[in-house]
Structures are given as C-alpha cells and as structure tokens.
C-alpha cells in the first residue's frame, strides 16, 4: 500500500512536472460555441459530452490539479446549436477508484442555478494524488433550458501538492473523527501580512464530507531553523462552510511552518498538523 502510494505520488509528480512545462493556454473558443466571458488565463482540463442533458462541458482550472483545494470552472454549451447554457443545476462528485473500494473527497458545489461570467464554479479538495485511472469527476447537469438531466465521467490527474496543502488527522477528542485541513491562502506568500484561510471538513462516510463550522482555530507560524515566530497574527475564524479566515505574518523570507491548533468548546483536539510555506 505504502509502495503503491509512493508510485502514485511519483507518477503524479512526473505528470505535474510535465504539465508545469506546458504553457498556460488562454481560454479556447469552443467552436461553434460562444466564448465564455471570463478572460483570465486558465488551464483547460478537457471537454466532455454530458449525455442526456444535450450539453457539452468545457472544464477549466486555475492551475493544475493538486491535492488540496482546486477551483474548477465549467462552461456548458448546447450540443446542438452551440449556444451558452446559463441556467441549470451543475455539480461535481469526485471519485477515486482504488479497485477494491471507492471513495470521494470534499467538494464545494455552488447552489447557483445561473452561471456567472459563463462558468459554473465548483471546488474539489483532493485528498490524495492519483492519475486519470484513479480520480474521476462525475459531472451532473440539470439543464433548466430543456429540463433534461445528464451525467458524464471525466478522468483527471491529481498531483501531490508540494509542500502539501492538505492534511488529514484523526481527532480522538471528537469521536475519532477524521478531519481534513486544507490550506487556501496565502496563495502567494510574501514577507509582511498575508491573508490566511483554511477549510475544515469532517469525514462522515467514504462519500460524504461535511464542513466544520464549530471549531476554534489557532495558528502559530515559526521558522523551524531559527525557532522564532512572528507577531500580530490573527487567528482564523469561521466565515462560511468550513472556511476560516485570519492573517498570517512573515517577518522574513525563508521556510516557515504554520502550526494549526484545533479545539472545540475549549477542548484541545489537534495541534500536530502544520503547513510549510517558503517565501
């Protein structure tokens, strides 16, 4: 198991290296389909027909998929006339197929039924690395234009984030719950004040992960090789759906570790997990 995981991680890393070499492509115009409004540079993951809903999905991410938090943008078009589909209910369910078993991962599907800027936006927190054979995305679309429902399956490569932006821990004091801690910010860490954001999820079943809103989060940044911290950090507090936001300060460039301390109603739950950040 350990070995195979290593192999997976290794191959994922290879994929990552290659995909990194690829130049980020500007959004392509899906012919004969209308151009999505958004003009940001994104990676196109691919395209797939959503059978039954008369729709074609173009799938984009802001960067290559990694363990941790990934924003996924999907533009949907009518597969017969090529017009943009702007209303409907779109969601994703990520599934990892490990042969003997399957499991999912936390996902943030939008409740919106109307697209903004031409995309249905979702986010997936991949809990482990895997190549296309293991991770796939189940795309479900309820096309409000024709009231048809369809689904598609789309294989993706997920590389291991390095340093890791995803941690999982078993919290004994909370009924041995398996807790997922995902780092969202700082995306571009710099010396000075940085926004800090993590998402907490609790594993309910292999297929269901619930955002945690009732934990207390404290952060402690340190430079491991010097043993010092930084002043005036702001502990993250819950905003919505398991998202906790605060501020983290870096007094100098170099390697930092941000220790995450979790507690609930005054009971300490976990203080061993940390994220590494290099500036």
């Amino acid at each position: 198991m350990k070995l195979s995981y290593k192999i997976i991680a290794l191959s994922a890393a290879t994929v990552l290296t290659f995909s990194c070499k690829k130049k980020e492509t500007k959004i392509e115009t899906p012919t004969p389909i209308e151009t999505p409004v958004e003009t940001t540079t994104m990676n196109k993951l691919g395209e797939v027909y959503i059978q039954g809903a008369n729709a074609k999905a173009f799938i984009y991410t802001t960067s290559t998929l990694q363990t941790g938090y990934n924003e996924i943008y999907v533009a949907l078009f009518d597969s017969t006339d090529g017009s943009s589909l702007s209303t409907g209910h779109f969601d994703i369910l990520p599934i990892m197929d490990m042969g003997t078993m399957q499991h999912s991962s936390p996902v943030e599907n939008t409740e919106d039924t109307v697209v903004t800027n031409g995309y249905f936006k979702t986010a997936v927190i991949f809990s482990m690395a895997g190549t296309a054979s293991q991770w796939f995305l189940n795309l479900n679309f309820h096309n409000h234009k024709n009231q048809k429902f369809g689904a598609a399956k789309f294989g993706v490569n997920v590389a291991a984030s390095s340093p890791s932006k995803f941690k999982s821990t078993v919290v004994a004091a909370d009924n041995n719950a398996s807790i997922f801690i995902t780092l969202l910010n700082p995306l571009k860490p710099e010396v000075g004040i940085n926004d800090f954001e993590i998402v907490l999820h609790k594993k309910n079943s292999m297929m269901e992960f619930l955002p945690i809103d009732d934990y207390t989060v404290e952060i402690e940044p340190t430079m491991p090789s010097m043993g010092h911290g930084s002043p005036n950090n702001v502990n993250p507090v819950i905003t919505e759906k398991g998202h906790y936001k605060g501020k983290v300060n870096f007094t100098m460039s170099g390697l930092w570790q941000i220790k995450i301390k979790l507690s609930k109603n005054g009971t300490a739950l976990s203080d061993t997990q940390y994220f590494e950040i290099t500036i």
């Binding site: 000075g192 010092h228 911290g229 005036n232 300060n249 100098m252 460039s253 170099g254 390697l255 290099t278």
Partner: protein, 665 residues
C-alpha cells in the same frame, strides 16, 4: 605652555629643524608655524597635544585621553568614542566636517577608524549643544581634521616612513607619508597597513577572534588659484579584512570606505567679508559582517550593510565676529541579514530597511567682545530633516507590526548655545554656557528590525513615532594658570527631555537564536546627566611635566534608574621627562569600580583597576632627516582588566611591548 609646545612640535613635524637649527631660513620657520597652527587651534586641549606628542599612541589612545571622551570596545579595533555618556546617535563624529554614517547596525564602524595617526592633524571635541555648529546634537561633536598638503617654498619631497610592532597581538603597523609642493600645486599622500593577530589579556588569556587586517590610503591635492583662492581635492580610502569582534557574535569579513571631497577656500579683501569655504563631499561605506570564523555559530549568516552620503557645506566668515553656515547632506542606508540553513531555502530580511535621510541646516554664530575682557558667543542652528524608508522588502517586513514606514517623517530641530566668558586678572578664566540641543532618533531607533544587541541579548525593533530628544544644558568652565601649574575644570548638568530609552515588548518573541525577547524604544520623561572634568598640568621643571585628568559622569532616568553605558570615575595621569631628544613618559590610569549600572540593559558591574604604561622615545638626527625610535610597555603589571564600557565582558590588552621606528625626511 611654551615649553610644551616646543616639545610637542619637535615630536610632531618634519619641521623639527626650524627649532634645532635656528640658522635655517625664515621660510622654514613659517612652515613650522603653519604646522603649529594646526595643533594650536585647540589650545584648550592640552591632553591631546600632550599625548599625541608621544608618537606611540594611535588615534584611539589619543581620543581616550581627551576631556570627557570614553571609548566603547567591541574588539581590538574600531573603538566607538562616546562623549561623557552620549553615544553615537547623540553625537556627531565627522572627518573634516563631512558627515559619514556607519554601515554597521552593530556600530562596529565608528567614523574614527578611518583616521590613521599619520593622517591626523587635530581632533576637535565640543561637548553638548556647543558642538551643534556643524549639525544638531545634544552630546557634542568630534571632528577629525586630516593633514593637508601645505605650501612651502621648499620643493623637496618631505615625508615619513614608520613601522611599529606590538607583542601582545603580533601587531604591525606600517605607515608612510609624502608631501611636495610643485608651483601652484601641492600634494600629500599617506597610508598605513595594519595587521594583528589575536591579542592576549592580562594573565595570558588569548582572546579569540580579535585580530584584524586593514589598509588605509589618503591623498590630497591642493591648487592655489591665486593668492586668495585655493582648491582642494581629498580622497580617503580604508579597507578592512577579517576584523575580529570578540564581544559580538559576528566578525567583519570585509569593510571598505571611500571618502571623496572637494573644497574651495577664498579669503576676501573686502571690508565686510573675511573668508569662505565651500566643500562638497561623497562617501560610500560597505560593511560585510559574517560568522565564517565562528565555529560555534548555529548557522552561517551574512550581514552586509551600506551607507552612501553626499553633501556640501559653506562656511562664511563675516567681520565683526559673525560666522554663517549652510549645510546639506543626504544619506542612504540599508543593512541585510542572509542566513543559510542547510538543505533549506535561505532566509533574508533587512535589519535596517533601506531608507533615505536628508538634512538641511543653517547656523549662525556671533561673537560679542565686551569691555573688561568679556565675551559673549551666541550660536544657533536650525535643521530640517526628512526621512523615509524606500520601496523595498523592508517596508513589507514592517507591515507585520501594522506600521507603514514608507511615509516620510519630517523633523524640525533647533539648537541654541549661549556662552559667556571673562578673563580675570591673575590668569583666571571663567566661562558659563547655556545650551539647548535636539537630536532625532537614529535610523536604527526608527526603522531597525530585530537588531540583536549583545549587551542585553534582546532583539530591537525601531519606533517610527519617536520624538526628538531635547536637552537643556548648563556648563561651567574655570581655568586658572599659576606660574608652573595650569588647572582647568568643567562642570556640567544636562537635562534631556523625551530621552530615548529602551523597553521590553511583552508578548513579542525574538528572532535571533538565543535572544531573550524583543525590545523597542520610547521617549521617557527625561534623563539627566551631570559630572565634571578636571585637568592639571604641572611643569615641575623645564624638563619634567605632569599632566592629569579626571572624568566623572552621573546619569539617570527620571525615576532614578542609572543610564546604561556610563563610564565610572576615571583618573589619567602622566609624567613626562624630556631631555634634549629623549622623552620618557610614565602613565597611570585608574578607573573606579562602576556599580551604578542599568541591569535591564545588561550592564555589568566593573571592578576598579590601575594601569601603568611606560613610553620612551628617542629622536636621532641623520643628516637632514630624523629617526624617531620609540619603545613602550603598556599594562606593565599585566592587569586583567576591562573598562566599564567594553561590551561582553571581554578583557583588554595584557602586558604589551610596543616598538616604533619612524624616519622623517
């Protein structure tokens, strides 16, 4: 007094001949008096003249024997002069009136290190606000005047070569100087090479990391435009390598100073104007600290620092005792810290965020001569400062303290000094001074970012909102000349409002490995400093002179806490015997224990000590040259001692034999 001057001159100059050979031409005598002027310009400072004459002294030895001057020692080299209890931020140290800023956040490079005795013409010391003529200050000013090429009709090359050796650190000092006049041009080139290994303190204890290497070169060119105008160009370069600072956790891998100036002097044949001096200058200091020579260092670290200053001043003398001055300078400073952990990305920060400081100042001095040998000297100065951190990593760093250091800070400083003096019959001289001085916070005090202080083992961060220190001062000087004895006494009392004082920041961690925490500065209500200097000179016989000086400072905060780094009571005396071309000088230093200490600052009690030195100098005439030979034994009884201001409990030199040979031609 005259005798001393003669003794002094004979040891000072290549113009020795004028004294011993009265047959020489009158021109040569003129040349002599020119040199004489230089040291005569500060007749008050008998100690300077006296000790400088001993030829075996270095700049720091000379400084330490001046009224109210003490030295902070961090290594065998680069001692930082302090005036009474005023440190580097509170005093102005200049070379030929030029502002030069150290590039070291640890104060390893006081300006005095760039002046070698072979270049030194004179040192001017002014205490308190009286030193504010050339720049706002509360503590005073030290100005080093470099030797200048002089005009004489003798077109021969004059010069000197010297070599000295000290046993305690296998230290050698080679120096040379050349001077010549060619028509309207006159030049002087001089230099020194100094090398020293680790020194030993008393009781034969080796002080690790105390050696140093350095070279110094100075060149001056003077051009006489006409009989009233002169143009001068000066260059001073100084290069140091592997300079050990045993009292600090780091040494200096390399340091360099490049100092340039150009000046124009005019004498007016005008009814109202007397003279004008305009000088422009530029200097660039690079200071590279590292710990490569420290095996115990937890992680290799570089701490480079830079300072670049340019400026000008114009001194205009008007008849009726008026002097006007306008000056401007601009300085850019920055210091970095780069750490190299093994197998990890390097770490970087700016310990002194890059910043610009500019200053324009005006001063006016007016001398009123009254009846009955009375004088009133009034001088005032105003300064405008503008300082801001400039766009760089340093600004971002500071954001973690929710502080924006990029907004520029303006300060308007005022200095006023009123001085009344009267010469009574019977050679009694009395001078009463009232002064008011201000000084702005240093860049370290304003922007410093986790600057480690070895003394209290705290990291320091600056405080951008520090107010200027304001000092109210009064001083009394009494001087009395008897037939054979000359006595002078200074009494001073300074009250400094908004004194900048350090305090601990609770709840904040340190950065430096092993430091105890974080400190910053704040303005406290006031601090006071009072004390006295007492000097006597006793011409026992024509050949035997005794000189002694006593310094004492008492300083405390508004709530009675002793200020840190206050030197204890000190007595320095010397007995000089001079017969023809031989001079023997016995020196005795005594420092009282310092038990009034500031524990918060890491001050340590220092026991008292006695120190004895013996110096013998012999001049030998060889044709038209003079060979000066000197031998000295410093710390004769091999005392293991330290001065109170020495950082880190590092003892000073043990018994040291010093030999010196110089040829003046």
């Amino acid at each position: 007094m005259k005798i001393i001057t003669v003794i002094l001159l004979s040891f000072l100059t290549q113009c020795f001949w004028a004294q011993t050979n009265p047959k020489d031409t009158a021109k040569k005598i003129t040349q002599l008096s020119e040199v004489c002027i230089s040291d005569d310009t500060h007749p008050d400072n008998a100690s300077f003249n006296f000790y400088k004459g001993s030829k075996l002294a270095n700049t720091e030895d000379i400084l330490s024997r001046m009224e109210g001057v003490s030295l902070i020692k961090r290594g065998a080299y680069g001692l930082e002069p302090i005036l009474r209890n005023y440190g580097s931020g509170q005093t102005n140290i200049t070379i030929d009136g030029m502002r030069i800023y150290g590039a070291c956040t640890d104060k390893m490079d006081p300006v005095s290190i760039y002046v070698e005795p072979v270049n030194l013409q004179s040192i001017q010391v002014a205490h308190g606000a009286a030193g504010a003529l050339n720049g706002s200050t509360i503590g005073g000013q030290i100005n080093f005047n470099l030797k200048e090429p002089s005009y004489n009709c003798n077109k021969k090359i004059h010069g000197q070569v010297g070599q000295s050796y000290s046993t305690i650190n296998k230290g050698s000092n080679t120096n040379f100087a050349l001077q010549q006049t060619l028509h309207k041009f006159s030049y002087r080139v001089s230099g020194a090479l100094r090398d020293a290994g680790n020194y030993k303190s008393g009781d034969n204890i080796q002080i690790k990391n105390s050696g140093f290497h350095k070279s110094n070169l100075s060149a001056a060119l003077s051009y006489k435009i006409d009989s009233l105008q002169t143009l001068k160009i000066n260059y001073l370069g100084d290069w140091g390598k592997f300079i050990g600072y045993p009292a600090l956790p780091m040494d200096v891998g390399s340091a360099s100073a490049q100092i340039y100036s150009m000046s124009h002097h005019t004498i007016f044949k005008n009814k109202k104007l007397e003279s004008n001096e305009l000088k422009v200058y530029y200097n660039h200091i690079v200071h590279q600290m590292d710990d490569t020579q420290r095996p115990e260092a937890p992680m290799h670290m570089d701490m480079p620092g830079w300072s670049t200053t340019f400026g000008f001043y114009d001194n205009l003398s008007i008849k009726k005792g008026i002097k006007l001055r306008v000056d401007y300078h601009h300085v850019n400073t920055r210091a970095d810290m780069i750490m190299y952990p093994s197998g990890e990305p390097l770490m970087y920060l700016q310990t002194l965020p890059e910043n610009n400081l500019s200053n324009i100042g005006f001063s006016l001095q007016k001398l009123f001569t009254l009846k009955h040998k009375q004088q009133i000297n009034l001088n005032g100065r105003i300064d405008l400062f503008n300082q801001s951190a400039i766009s760089s990593a340093g600004i971002n760093q500071w954001k973690v303290f929710n502080t924006d250091i990029s907004t520029s800070k303006q300060d308007f400083l005022k200095n006023l000094n009123l001085n009344y003096s009267k010469l009574f019959t019977g050679h009694l001289f009395l001078q009463l001074t009232f002064g008011y001085g201000e000084r702005i916070a240093t860049s370290n005090e304003r922007y410093g970012y986790y600057l480690y202080n070895r003394q209290d083992q705290f990291d320091y961060i600056g405080n951008i909102s520090l107010k200027p220190e304001r000092s109210y001062q009064t001083e009394l000087r009494i001087k009395k000349e008897f037939k054979k004895v000359e006595v002078s006494m200074n009494l001073f009392y300074h009250l400094t409002k908004d004194y900048i004082y350090s305090y601990k920041l609770d709840g904040y961690g340190q950065m430096t490995i092993g430091a105890f925490g974080l400190k910053t500065y704040k303005n406290i209500d006031y601090a006071l400093s009072t004390g006295a200097e007492f000097t006597t000179k006793f011409n026992v016989t024509e050949r035997l002179t005794h000189i002694s000086s006593i310094k004492y400072v008492y300083a405390e905060t508004h709530n009675g806490k002793p200020l840190p780094l206050v030197p204890p009571f000190k007595l320095q005396q010397a007995l000089r015997f001079k017969i023809q071309l031989t001079q023997i000088q016995l020196e005795h230093d005594y420092a009282y224990a310092q038990n009034r200490i500031n524990i918060d600052y890491g001050d340590r009690q220092t026991p008292s000590f006695h120190l004895f030195n013996l110096r013998i100098a012999q001049n030998i005439r060889i044709k038209s040259s003079i060979l000066q030979l000197g031998i000295a034994c410093e710390n004769i009884f091999d005392q293991n001692y330290r001065e109170h201001l020495d950082i880190g409990n590092i003892p000073r030199f043990g018994r040291n034999f010093l030999m010196n040979a110089s040829l003046l031609f």
